[in-house]
């Protein structure tokens, strides 16, 4: 319950602002396919541990502050990431771990 209240509080400015003014679409404006995707993801989100949910909320806020071209770049990178075949994805994951350990 507290989690729900916190999320609602976080999203309050979004609720208070018309969706059009934010450049986002309201639920009714999503296509059935998009609604289904959002619904599926919403259900998965609810199953995540609280810590993970908080992290995603932080990232969401961070994502919203990014300039549109940066958001576009991340979307493009995600499409590229999705397009990796299993072998390439495994390699990418290894590289990610290597990159991260080098970074710290």
């Amino acid at each position: 319950m507290r989690r729900r209240a916190a999320l609602l509080l976080l999203l309050l400015p979004l609720v208070a602002t018309p969706a059009g003014a934010q450049g986002w679409r309201a639920w009714d404006q999503l296509s059935p396919e998009e609604q289904r995707r959002a619904w599926d993801n919403f259900q998965r989100y609810q199953q995540l541990p609280e810590q993970r949910q908080r992290m995603i909320e932080r990232r969401y806020q961070q994502f919203q502050t990014l300039p549109p071209q940066e958001q576009k770049r991340l979307r493009q990178n995600y499409e590229a990431y999705r397009g990796l075949d299993p072998g390439a994805r495994r390699e990418f994951t290894e590289k990610y771990r290597r990159w991260k350990s080098d970074r710290h």
């Binding site: 729900r4 999320l7 609602l8 999203l11 979004l14 609720v15 986002w24 679409r25 309201a26 639920w27 999503l30 396919e33 998009e34 609604q35 289904r36 995707r37 959002a38 619904w39 599926d40 993801n41 919403f42 259900q43 998965r44 989100y45 199953q47 995540l48 541990p49 810590q51 993970r52 995603i56 990232r59 969401y60 961070q62 994502f63 770049r73 991340l74 979307r75 990178n77 995600y78 590229a80 990431y81 999705r82 299993p86 390699e91 990418f92 994951t93 290894e94 590289k95 990610y96 771990r97 290597r98 990159w99 350990s101 080098d102 970074r103 710290h104």
Partner: protein, 215 residues
């Protein structure tokens, strides 16, 4: 879709990276296939049990992958066999889950023992690089472990979205539309730098500063 195909798609589903069509196909199969549903539930049970293990241990990515692969193969064999001989129906689910949990716990325990013993694998990742060795990639599996989360996410979500979505969803559907991006945000921010990271060569004294900009 057959059980084998569903098995193969589950890995991608776990990472939330299935395209909508495949996702639908998988959900459709899960809605109709008791065996695959039970398998996912059993896997989730096992991984939840492992996630509740008190110890926080270092598990190599290879071990984790191998264990999960083994589980999947075992489950897959059960799935393909059940089409001809439904042997697994005679075995109780808790018994299967308990057995798998015991195997996993043993694997983790052995690994923990291995981690405690001296050897290059126990060096911190950075120090291994500095010494010219290449430590196997490791990551932490805390009590709230990745595989458990993975299993939870892999559970099928069958059903159409409601006409009246919950307030959280209705207020910011884009958050949930972009959930996969948010989950992988760090990877995506540094996508190019990660892709150009080399695995084979040992980083030299100045190689540690790999290009990280993603301009």
């Amino acid at each position: 879709m057959r059980c084998g195909q569903a098995q193969r798609l589950m890995t991608s589903a776990v990472d939330d990276e299935l395209g909508p069509r495949r996702r639908r196909a998988l959900d459709h199969h899960l809605a109709a296939c008791d065996a695959c549903r039970r398998e996912i539930a059993a896997t989730g049970t096992v991984l939840d049990a492992v996630a509740r293990l008190p110890a926080e241990v270092l598990v190599s990515a290879r071990l984790e992958q191998a264990t999960l692969r083994r589980l999947r193969i075992t489950a897959s064999e059960g799935g393909s066999r059940h089409e001809r001989v439904p042997w697994w129906r005679s075995a109780s689910l808790p018994a299967l889950a308990l057995a798998a949990a015991a195997v996993l716990a043993l694997a983790v325990g052995l690994r923990q023992f291995d981690v405690m013993s001296p050897g290059p694998a126990n060096l911190a990742p950075g120090s291994a690089a500095k010494r010219g060795g290449q430590a196997p990639p490791q990551h932490r599996v805390p009590s709230e472990a990745t595989p458990a989360r993975v299993a939870r996410q892999a559970r099928p979500t069958v059903g159409e979205p409601p006409r009246e979505p919950p307030a959280e969803l209705a207020s910011a559907p884009d958050l949930f539309m972009d959930l996969p991006i948010l989950r992988h945000m760090e990877k995506l921010e540094h996508f190019d730098a990660i892709r150009t990271t080399t695995l084979d060569e040992e980083p030299g004294p100045s190689d540690g500063q790999q290009e990280r900009s993603n301009g």
